[in-house]
């Protein structure tokens, strides 16, 4: 099978992009399509993860979903790919369905493992906001698979890649970007491997210093529960849960969050969950790997010191 992987790479190829490349190379011969100003030196890493060829289109505005769709369509035609793979990040959510509609391809969004081709073509994806998994059969010849960040570990193949400039008529861009407000340098929540989260148990936004300190020590991204985002203690983009962001980090540390079913839905894909709560009856402990019954105001700083000690011992 011939695979086309779409990646978005600003200055550097992200882990999510390498996940997609690695995923593609395990299905078949993989060509990568990308765009923008990224240098060929930075792109070369794609080869190490199984991308045999990179096609790059210089000078396109990423926000124009129609142009990106036309770009991927042109690359499908040129490479003869039958499977398109991309990351289920914000860009993937914007263009994955468009590409599928244009190719009349079945679309599996948020795949969590490799396709099973022993009986047709079946892929697993999370449904019911992470409370269950569905096995989806794709019937069409062409297929578009977007993969959930942190689901597949990128693996090196020891290969190398060739990089070719790719030109195609992308049509008109109807969306005009007026401004980009960046959310700082941190790792975006859906891609974060380590997440420190807190809820109403913290009693007020002025107390978040202990959460941020711990996150800083760990190199983790901060998150919060829905009530805390709703009352404005924390920004909405930090809200994880059924109606917020679903995450699947390696480690999720939750302090002062009781663990309502809607919150669990967004985090139960985490590999390891640590729950810190004063209430030993908090439902979150049932979903936890490690529980600490204690006051977050005492436990978080203590945990922070323990991590610092650990990091020093590792160096």
């Amino acid at each position: 099978m011939s695979v086309l992987v779409f990646i978005e790479a600003k200055n550097k190829v992200s882990k999510a992009a390498l996940e997609a490349v690695s995923y593609g190379s395990k299905i078949g011969s993989t060509t990568v399509i990308t765009f923008g100003d990224i240098s060929s030196d930075e792109l070369a890493i794609v080869g190490e993860y199984g991308g045999e060829k990179v096609l790059i289109h210089r000078g396109i505005n990423k926000s124009n979903d129609q142009q990106l769709t036309n770009l991927i369509h042109a690359a499908v035609e040129s490479s003869g790919a039958t499977i398109v793979v991309l990351s289920q990040d914000q860009t993937g959510k914007s263009i994955g369905p468009r590409v599928a509609a244009k190719l009349n391809a079945g679309h599996v969004s948020g795949a969590i493992d490799l396709p099973d081709t022993s009986n047709g073509f079946q892929v697993n994806t999370n449904v019911f906001s992470g409370k269950a998994m569905a096995t989806v059969a794709v019937h069409s010849d062409k297929k578009v698979i977007s993969i959930l960040p942190n689901s597949i570990s990128p693996e090196k193949t020891g290969g190398s890649t060739t990089i070719e400039e790719f030109d195609a008529d992308l049509g008109e861009g109807k969306i005009v970007v007026k401004e980009m407000k960046t959310q700082g340098e941190g790792i975006p929540l859906p891609e974060a491997e380590l997440v420190v989260s807190a809820g109403r148990g913290l009693k007020g936004p002025e107390n978040w210093g202990i959460v941020e300190d711990l996150a800083k020590t760990l190199g983790a991204t901060t998150a919060c529960s829905r009530p805390v985002a709703d009352i404005g203690w924390r920004p909405h983009h930090e809200h994880v849960g059924q109606t917020g962001i679903a995450i699947r980090p390696n480690l999720y540390i939750a302090a002062g969050i009781s663990g309502a079913i809607q919150h669990l839905a967004g985090v139960n894909g985490s590999k390891v969950i640590v729950v810190i709560n004063t209430d030993a009856e908090a439902p979150f402990f049932k979903a936890a790997d490690y529980g600490v019954v204690g006051d977050a105001f005492e436990v978080l700083p203590r945990l922070n010191e323990a991590f610092k000690k650990f990091h020093n011992s590792q160096n």
């Binding site: 860009t91 509609a101 079945g106 109606t243 323990a306």
Partner: protein
């Protein structure tokens, strides 16, 4: 201004998730259905606000059977002018998107709203597919939308931040948190919804491209290991040596 809002039903957020028929079907036993929260709280309410400020109509559209009618009436009670139900099983996202596109293609809607995703399938597919089928721009994960004449200014979540964009009608958006606040239907709305038009139109004959073969539930955790709150060194040691996550 003519607005179309795509409405899907989803199980109540506290519903027990279980499966029947050899794990091939969602177990509807005892499940209360609601309007998918993203469709209701953000898409529908913002559409109503725009029409209240600028004049026009809000039509809802659903691909489904008569079992969907109560959720459609709920959307009418919140304030939509009328509703369309395309009569058929929603087989997959491409099927739903094609049915809606087929209906909308000659009706000149200025804006087509979808929610960011449904809370049952989480596919986030239908909006982008409609946009492609109708050759319109798609503004995904929009958190803010204002309109001035034919030009809309939107904010949307993108990789690494928030983008402010401008686009002319017609376009398709998926609405995310921040777009509007939930509205509770009042008694007058509920009474009025009973007599508002709910037009049932036949589905176009189409094949689905994907099928859910089976469902499964995540494996239960082995149980929580409790750590002494005075001894965080032990927790760090377990995370490193046993769980190997740091």
């Amino acid at each position: 201004m003519k607005i179309l809002v795509c409405i899907s039903k989803s199980p109540d957020t506290t519903a027990k998730i279980a499966f029947t028929d050899g794990n091939s079907k969602f177990d509807e036993n005892g499940v209360q259905y609601i309007v998918n929260p993203y469709d209701e709280w953000y898409a529908l309410v913002r559409a109503l606000e725009l029409v209240e400020a600028n004049g026009g109509t809000v039509t809802t559209i659903t691909v489904g059977t008569a079992a969907d009618d109560p959720t459609i009436r709920k959307a009418l009670a919140i304030g939509a002018n009328d509703a369309v139900r395309i009569d058929g099983q929603a087989l997959d996202a491409s099927y739903v998107a094609k049915q809606i596109s087929e209906y909308a293609k000659d009706k000149n809607f200025d804006i087509i709203f979808t929610g960011k995703e449904t809370i049952n399938y989480n596919g986030a597919q239908v909006g982008g597919m409609i946009a492609e089928n109708l050759n319109q721009p798609f503004i995904s994960l929009a958190t803010k939308l204002d309109i001035n004449g034919e030009t809309a200014t939107l904010e949307r979540d993108v990789q690494g931040g928030v983008e402010v964009v401008e686009v002319n009608t017609p376009f398709v958006i998926s609405a995310a948190k921040g777009m509007a606040e939930q509205r509770i239907p009042n008694m007058r709305g509920i009474m009025a919804a009973r007599t508002k038009p709910l037009n049932v139109v036949p589905a176009v004959d189409l094949e689905n491209l994907t099928t859910v073969v089976s469902y499964s539930l995540p494996e239960a955790k082995e149980g929580c290991k409790y750590i002494d709150p005075e001894n965080m060194d032990e927790l760090v040691d377990l995370l490193h040596n046993q769980s190997k996550v740091i």
